[in-house]
């Protein structure tokens, strides 16, 4: 399938925001944090969450043919995971705004709001991932690993961001956040590798024979019925070479997980001011590439009807 740029941007940025929300809300929830010293970190984290959320939301509007009707997308929450995501994303950002107001007014982060923010982040991950995992005959997506990986990659990105912010706002929390981020990066790497291993045994749903209802093992399309472009030849083919896809997949593993892990764990304390933000940039670039590959890996069953050049 052709990766949709706005969806790549949305899921990369909002995934990181969700991870950051979980990372900074946990200490508030457990009550281990001393509110006075954590106030700055919480505040800039919530602003970062809102910033990334708003950019992501803007990107999601850019994906629509009729953005002015986007409000309608909340209607079918009973059946559509996309509709549920459309509700969960503003809810997540809304709770972030409430938390920011509470910090302003009360000087601490009420455990209830922190718990609610984490719950919204988790719900949003499930909704976003199920948009893809819920299409049962797109077998590359239809696996619990899709949900697990969205959560793990978001947590890893958010962990690196939390560590980078803590460097600046709460030095005592930086080291634990760094360690947690490295562990999460490793888990996310394993998750993605597991999905790639699974991919080797996945074939598109249906078959050429049942697609047109002919029993012969040899079926060759000689004409797709038109010589020009069509939605179906654009939307469901990424148009890149196998070498390009392999390159992207390698860069996902290196930029998204391995390099950030090395930068977070392997740099001396004096350099961490520079290397941890670098790790974040590398991770976000890698996750963006991962989302590209996540789309490109799908061989849509409809492609059987569009094999011929003419």
């Amino acid at each position: 399938m052709r990766p949709a740029f706005s969806v790549l941007l949305l899921t990369t940025l909002v995934g990181c925001a969700q991870g950051l929300a979980v990372a900074v809300a946990l200490p508030a929830l457990w009550g281990v944090a001393d509110p006075a010293s954590w106030l700055t970190l919480w505040r800039i984290s919530l602003w970062a969450i809102l910033g990334m959320g708003v950019i992501g939301l803007g990107a999601s509007f850019a994906h629509l043919g009729r953005p002015e009707r986007a409000w309608r997308a909340a209607a079918m929450w009973r059946t559509s995971w996309l509709s549920r995501e459309v509700i969960a994303l503003p809810a997540f950002l809304g709770v972030a705004v409430l938390s920011l107001l509470a910090l302003q007014q009360l000087g601490h982060w009420p455990a209830l709001l922190a718990a609610l923010l984490m719950a919204c982040a988790l719900a949003l991950w499930v909704c976003t991932a199920m948009i893809y995992a819920g299409i049962r005959f797109l077998r590359e997506w239809a696996t619990p690993l899709t949900v697990v990986n969205f959560v793990l990659m978001g947590l890893a990105s958010g962990g690196v961001l939390a560590a980078s912010l803590a460097q600046w706002a709460l030095a005592s929390a930086a080291a634990p956040y760094g360690d947690a981020a490295a562990v999460l990066l490793a888990l996310a790497l394993f998750g993605r590798l597991a999905a790639l291993l699974r991919l080797r045994h996945v074939s598109p749903a249906g078959s050429m024979q049942t697609a047109i209802g002919v029993a012969s093992p040899i079926i060759r399309q000689t004409s797709k019925g038109f010589t020009a472009r069509a939605f179906n030849t654009h939307e469901f083919f990424h148009g890149r070479s196998a070498a390009w896809v392999t390159g992207v997949r390698l860069s996902v593993l290196l930029l998204g997980f391995v390099l950030p892990m090395l930068l977070v764990l392997g740099t001396p304390q004096g350099l961490q001011d520079v290397t941890w933000p670098l790790a974040l940039a590398s991770n976000l670039a890698g996750i963006f590439a991962e989302r590209w590959d996540f789309f490109a890996q799908v061989r849509h069953p409809q492609n059987r009807y569009y094999q011929a050049a003419l």
């Binding site: 309608r72 249906g206 049942t210 079926i219 020009a228 939605f231």
Partner: protein
């Protein structure tokens, strides 16, 4: 419950694309808005069509069949495109089972097109909307049109009557009888979408046997007594010679008609 659908006879479809153009003509003039064509006279035009005819070659040369395969929305009884729609723009009518897009509600997110395994939906970039076959819902109930013409435009246009239209839930309808008596099948039934549209399978012309018989003799293994190298040469050479002969005959037949082999019937499916 009524389930309107098309039944397409692959025996008589000649791949003329009359259904494609008549569909475009009717639906681009409809109340739901035009079906846009971007750069229609440019180098690389992009058009929206509800119905397309594709061509497949089935089998190994020289034993091939050309199958012209028209495909539009199959109006599934379990449409995977409907529950995924976030706005409810995509829906299946209870009254006649037609799957439609409400163009006033569609936000153009394209999620339904990802969910359709048949690639039946086409996004209209110009209008920012998802579009699809409506079974000419604005025509089949229009009482200003003569009764006999109240059928989808593609059905009216088909010169070989390859397209039948009717209620597949009524066991006595023309379409139900055709499905029952002629082995009508649905596309990718293993996906559980239960398409309402059906296809009537190709029947191989009985007289195509001579070509088959010739090829089978050529592919028979050489006698066991022959030296191994010689045998290998024979198996390699024989089918090649046969192929060249078949090709020249086919070319001759195309240019001058099948004058040699009168037992061979006219090719079905119009190549």
């Amino acid at each position: 419950m009524t389930q309107l659908a098309l039944v397409i006879d692959l025996n008589v479809c000649v791949g003329c694309h009359a259904c494609v153009t008549s569909c475009k003509q009717w639906n681009t003039s409809g109340s739901a808005g035009h079906l846009s064509d971007l750069q229609p006279y440019g180098e690389n035009p992009l058009g929206v069509f509800f119905n397309r005819v594709q061509t497949y070659e089935v089998g190994q040369f020289p034993h091939t069949q050309t199958v012209h395969f028209p495909k539009s929305c199959l109006h599934c009884e379990e449409p995977p495109c409907v529950p995924v729609c976030p706005t409810g723009a995509s829906y299946k009518r209870k009254v006649d089972g037609i799957v439609l897009v409400d163009s006033d509600k569609c936000i153009g997110c394209k999620y339904c097109s990802w969910a359709c395994p048949y690639g039946a939906r086409e996004y209209d970039e110009d209008r920012g909307l998802m579009t699809k076959c409506t079974l000419c819902v604005d025509r089949i109930y229009d009482e200003t049109i003569p009764q006999a013409q109240r059928r989808p435009a593609c059905v009216n246009a088909c010169p070989t009557n390859a397209r039948l239209f009717g209620d597949v839930h009524d066991p006595e309808s023309e379409v139900s009888r055709a499905i029952r008596e002629r082995g009508g099948y649905a596309l990718m039934p293993e996906l559980g979408t239960r398409p309402a549209n059906h296809y009537l399978p190709r029947r191989l012309p009985q007289g195509s046997a001579p070509a088959d018989a010739r090829a089978q003799t050529a592919q028979q293994p050489p006698p066991q007594a022959a030296p191994a190298r010689h045998a290998a040469m024979e198996t390699l050479r024989a089918p090649q010679a046969e192929a060249v002969e078949m090709e020249s005959r086919s070319l001759f037949a195309r240019l001058f008609g099948a004058v040699f082999d009168t037992r061979r019937p006219a090719p079905a499916g119009g190549e």
